[in-house]
């Protein structure tokens, strides 16, 4: 069942590429503007690289949250999901997976290329990419709760950011922390463990919380 939802959402994303590309271009542009604005001093760029990439990823992921449920809501598919005998949490998991595949994975793939602009060393690039790989699914899963709660509200976009950004902060801190630790030649395994723990916790709780929020928003 999860597979059906993922397949459908990927198909929709393929047919509406502009939505996907908006997120990716936003990410690329924000990350590319910083070196131009700050100036070409390699030591400054190296220190700020992970922060800039992570903040851009956070904002890019949030940019697309509004679309997560809104089109399903508008055309009545969401009603049918709520009425499905299959558990809503499973369907919501499918939505979060496809959100990650469509918005998270392209960011992860672009990150090493963008990191070169910041003169990051090879292993720091690798750590940055891996930290995004572990962290971006958390963004999609937590974002799903916010998107579900603000469904159908006017000004939902602002509300989503207020609800979701505080919850994104741990991911940001440990994601950038891993890269900084690796650049400083320190052990970064602990940061990855915490990111992994955040991922597991959000896999367990987010679908359930999102399903409950959807039922509230739809009744």
């Amino acid at each position: 069942m999860i597979w059906w939802i993922v397949k459908r959402d990927l198909l929709l994303a393929m047919r509406r590429r502009s939505d996907v590309l908006t997120t990716l271009f936003f990410f690329i542009i924000v990350v590319s503007l910083f070196p131009l604005g700050v100036g070409p001093e390699p030591s400054i760029l190296r220190t700020m690289a992970s922060g800039v990439v992570w903040v851009a990823a956070l904002l890019a992921s949030m940019l697309s949250l509004g679309r997560m449920f809104s089109s399903d809501y508008a055309d009545g598919t969401l009603e049918q999901m709520l009425l499905s005998p299959v558990s809503l949490a499973a369907l919501v998991t499918g939505k979060a997976i496809s959100h990650w595949l469509v918005t998270g994975v392209p960011l992860v793939l672009m990150a090493p290329v963008l990191g070169i602009q910041y003169d990051l060393a090879g292993d720091a690039l690798l750590v940055l990419t891996l930290s995004l790989l572990l962290g971006t699914p958390v963004l999609s899963l937590i974002g799903a709760i916010g998107a579900a709660l603000t469904l159908g509200l006017r000004g939902g976009g602002v509300l989503v950011s207020i609800l979701v950004l505080p919850l994104y902060i741990p991911v940001l801190i440990f994601g950038t922390g891993a890269v900084e630790a690796s650049s400083a030649g320190m052990e970064f395994g602990a940061h990855f463990s915490i990111l992994g723990a955040l991922l597991l916790v959000s896999i367990v709780f987010s679908p359930w919380a999102t399903a409950a929020s959807l039922r509230i928003s739809m009744s």
Binding site: W4, M81, S84, P85
Partner: protein, 204 residues
Amino acid sequence: MLTARNLECIRGEHKLFSNIFFSVNPGELMFVGGPNGSGKTSLLRLLCGLSSPDSGEILWNGMDIRDLDGDYRGMMTYLGHLGGIKDDLTALENLRISCALADCEIDENQAADALGQIGLAGREMLPAKVLSQGQRRRVALARLLVVQTRLWILDEPLTALDTAAVKLIKEILEHNLSKGGMVIMTTHQEIVMTAAAVHHLTLS
């Protein structure tokens, strides 16, 4: 058997309806009528469990539908105003996905058959956005040909359909009723159907 006892629905300050009692047995049909804004859609949404009544209870074979949860949803099909049709997907994909959501997976041939029966032969591969309003409604209604549910709750299923399609839908509904299914629907059109019993519930 679906039973409603003393249903009441309040929207904001406004009481839409109260003291609604009815029961629908296998093979029976119920029309929900009333002017625009009288709460027909709200009543149907209560019956399918999308929202909860402000007071009263809805029982399926004597058990509260909220307790039955997924078991009840597995026995019921709801088609609302919004058909759940995605503009960017083809008629075939729309049908297959809406059936999969109803936990009744079908392959491409079954979906094409159903679409052919409902009068969309040759249009299976068109994206829904190029279909007319009536054709989109047919895509949504094609699900009724495939699902195995007992209780159908249909909100204005005949809107935008031509006379041939109305006749077709009437046959599909009568077939379900003759198998012991139950249908609860709203419509503003005059339609005569044969069923074990036809109830009329008028909201004011």
